[in-house]
Amino acid sequence: MSVSVARRAARTGRARLGLGLLAAIAFVVVFGPLLAPWPPTAIVAPPLEGPSAQFPLGTDLLGRDVLSRLLSGGGTLTWMTLLATGIGVVLGALIGLTAAYRDGVADTVLMRAMDVVLSFPETIFVLVFVAAFGRHPLLTASLVGVAFAPGVSRVLRGAALPVFDSEYVLWAKANGLPGRQIVLGEVLPGVTSPLMVETGMRLVWAVTAIASLNYLGFGITPPAPDWGLMVSENQDGLAVAPLPVLAPIALILMMALGGNLVAESVARTVSRTEGKS
């Protein structure tokens, strides 16, 4: 079912645009570092120079080539986004399905624990922990993932409850099949669609959240090239040299927008499929 949904979703015009954007970004992330004319941290000219043949997008605050930093700066954002989404979805799904399976005390405890995390605004959650344990991209990405888990778990618990009431699962429970087998073998395939929608949405949110955190200085540290960090490094010079700020913003936007379009198409296809089934 999920394969056909994905295929049908990919056929809409919006999804094609989204996939195109994502493919362009993926190309920059993968091959960009090889194409960069200068090392991304090398100081090659006076700061905030305008575009020239030598430096097509000008130089940044410290006199580094903006194009080279752009081409080399997508990797961190990408892996941090994927990691955060992965943690959020896996953890959220695990908790949501467990809560749905073990109704009663375990359900209440798990979902209230999720409420605790949920009532922490995400930015503040990350801010407090990063202040405590230091700045590290791995930590920041994991924290964003943990902050996502409650939202995912609520959705999946809601989606899984009707599946657990299905006759097959009731039968399996009555016949003493192990819980793990029921959850993984029967319930998980039943909630693929909401899982896919959630994954898509969280991917988009992760891009903006992680770009913001890198911008605020809570992720990757200088001099490493990173799109979010580039915005904050160069925003002091926005009025004199807009390119070092606007170019990374454009790439972040492309990444999030591409993800968003794809996620929306999937969600739309899923709701249509389910509406008709």
Binding site: T41, P46, L62, G63, R135, T221, D236, G237
Partner: protein, 501 residues
């Protein structure tokens, strides 16, 4: 129902309606005339007590307007008399007699006398108060501070100290009314505190009983912002008249826009890279010398400070009355650096420079240095930590970015002598300490050659890489007239002739 969605226009309409309610205060408010509004960086922990232990730039700025010391620094960096009119030592310079200015009144109208000086010094000297200026006056014997008469104070020292009058120029050592500090400190300065909201805003107004030339401004308002960018925005929108401290890039992008001008104070402010001389590999002077040979000072001036700086030569600032020491300017010499590193057995040296990036240029300096060092195969990483962490492990970082905003004498007393808290590099050079002792015993006319010999030791053995002295930049609205550049980077302490149109 024939119209399409009008989400954005509706939003803009709402915004316009709200905006239409009127723009209060700001540039064209006549009541604002005579009030100078200055933006500063937020300091949530600020207090009014000028003796507090951990003062940020805003607190020092306010102190310089509200309080006065016995002496003060002029904008050219020379010591001038202020609340004192003379200081005379005994023969071996272990006791100083201070003559006070007559007719000085505190802002509450009461008279300033010798008793206030005695109580102020005693408060400062008491270690229990953890006053930030304590390091500067540790040579004072707390048991022998006494008022001789209404305008004479005698201060006994535990060791000879001849540059006594220069010490009192520090903004950390002002005189307050007896019993008023720390809760409600009262000073003799040209302004007095009118309102104070910690971390947000404070206003000082002209003190009518001021003994000296009265300022032309009726009041000064200090408004706090959390980022440099916000300060620039406040200046551009006319919310403030002066942005108190700004990055070279912002200064460059502001200058000329909306008639904004730039006051450029060329002086002795420096960012420096400290190397812990108590631990390997920096214990080895050859390593320190090699690292100093790697610095591309010209690049630091042009790329870190956008040209608003001049190159320095690894020794601290000189005093205005002395000629600079005759030492060759260090320039990048990769081969010599590599040779020194090989001799020290550190050919594949790698280390991290820690900084909290508190001041503009700190993290940038470390990044440029890392690039410079890479040319010799030295691997330097930049470790940006939050300010609390930097302070918590102060004295334990092997390499760190530090800054020095003060003249030479307090630099020596605060950070270059052994066992001082400010000496995070744990530098302990017997020859240097000996010369400093000699300096403290010598009369004024013999101090210049001594200081130059001390600079020479800093140049060869010192713990700091001092690549440049950077300018203090003050963008301001054209309506602000009469600002003076200050060699010590505190132009806002000189507001007497400033007007705002």
């Amino acid at each position: 129902m024939s119209r399409g969605p009008r989400c954005l226009p509706v939003l803009l309409l709402a915004a316009a309606l709200l905006a239409g309610c009127g723009r209060p205060d700001d540039a064209d408010d006549p009541a604002g005339a005579g009030t100078l509004r200055i933006s500063v960086s937020t300091d949530a922990g600020e207090v009014l007590n000028p003796y507090a232990s951990n003062q940020g730039p805003i607190q020092e700025l306010r102190s310089s307007l509200v309080f006065e010391g016995l002496t003060a620094l002029g904008p050219e960096g020379r010591t001038e008399w202020r609340l004192a009119t003379g200081m005379t030592p005994n023969a071996d310079r272990t006791q100083w007699t201070i003559t006070l200015r007559p007719g000085v009144k505190f802002s509450d109208g009461t008279e300033f006398t010798a008793a206030d000086v005695v109580s102020s010094i005693k408060y400062l000297r008491d270690p229990a108060h953890a006053a930030q200026g304590l390091a500067l006056i540790q040579m004072i014997d707390p048991a022998s501070i006494q008022a001789v008469d209404k305008l004479t104070v005698r201060v006994g020292l535990t060791e000879p100290f001849s540059p006594f009058k220069d010490i009192w120029t520090s903004v950390l050592l002002p005189m307050t009314k007896t019993g008023s500090a720390p809760a409600k400190p009262i000073g003799t300065g040209p302004f007095a505190v009118k309102s104070f909201a910690a971390g947000r805003e404070s206003t000082v107004e002209r003190s009518d009983g001021y003994w000296g030339r009265k300022p032309k401004l009726a009041a000064v308002q200090l408004i706090e912002y959390q980022s440099q960018q916000a300060q620039a925005n406040a200046l551009l929108s006319g919310r403030v008249d002066i942005a108190s401290n700004t990055t070279p890039t912002i200064a460059k992008s502001l200058a000329g826009r909306g008639g904004i001008q730039l006051l450029d104070s060329k002086g002795t402010f420096s960012l420096q890279i400290g190397l812990d001389t108590a631990v390997a590999p920096f214990r080895d002077v050859r390593v320190r010398q090699a690292l100093r040979l790697l610095v591309d000072r010209q690049q630091i001036v042009s790329n870190v400070f956008s040209g608003y700086a001049r190159i320095a030569n690894d020794y601290e600032t000189t005093t205005p009355q002395c000629a600079a020491p005759n030492l060759p300017q260090r320039a990048p010499d990769i081969a010599a650096a590599k040779r020194l590193l090989a001799e020290a057995g550190q050919s594949d040296l790698s280390f991290a420079i820690t900084t909290d990036g508190l001041l503009p240029g700190m993290s940038e300096l470390a990044q440029v240095f890392a690039q410079n060092a890479a040319l010799a195969g030295v691997k330097v990483t930049v470790n940006v930590v939050p300010t609390p962490e930097l302070l918590a492990k102060w004295g334990q970082w092997p390499a760190f970015v530090d800054y020095n905003p003060v003249p030479y004498l307090p630099s020596v007393l605060g950070g270059l002598l052994p066992d001082r808290v400010g000496n995070a590099a744990h530098w302990n050079d017997a020859a240097f300490t000996g010369l400093a002792g000699e300096l403290f015993r010598s009369p004024e006319q013999r101090q210049c050659p001594l200081m130059n010999r001390m600079h020479e030791i800093e140049y060869t053995n010192g713990p700091y890489i001092i690549p440049a002295f950077s300018d203090v930049l003050l963008p301001h609205r054209a309506a602000v007239q009469g600002l003076v550049p200050d060699v010590n980077g505190r132009p806002l302490s000189f507001l007497t002739d400033v007007t705002v149109g």
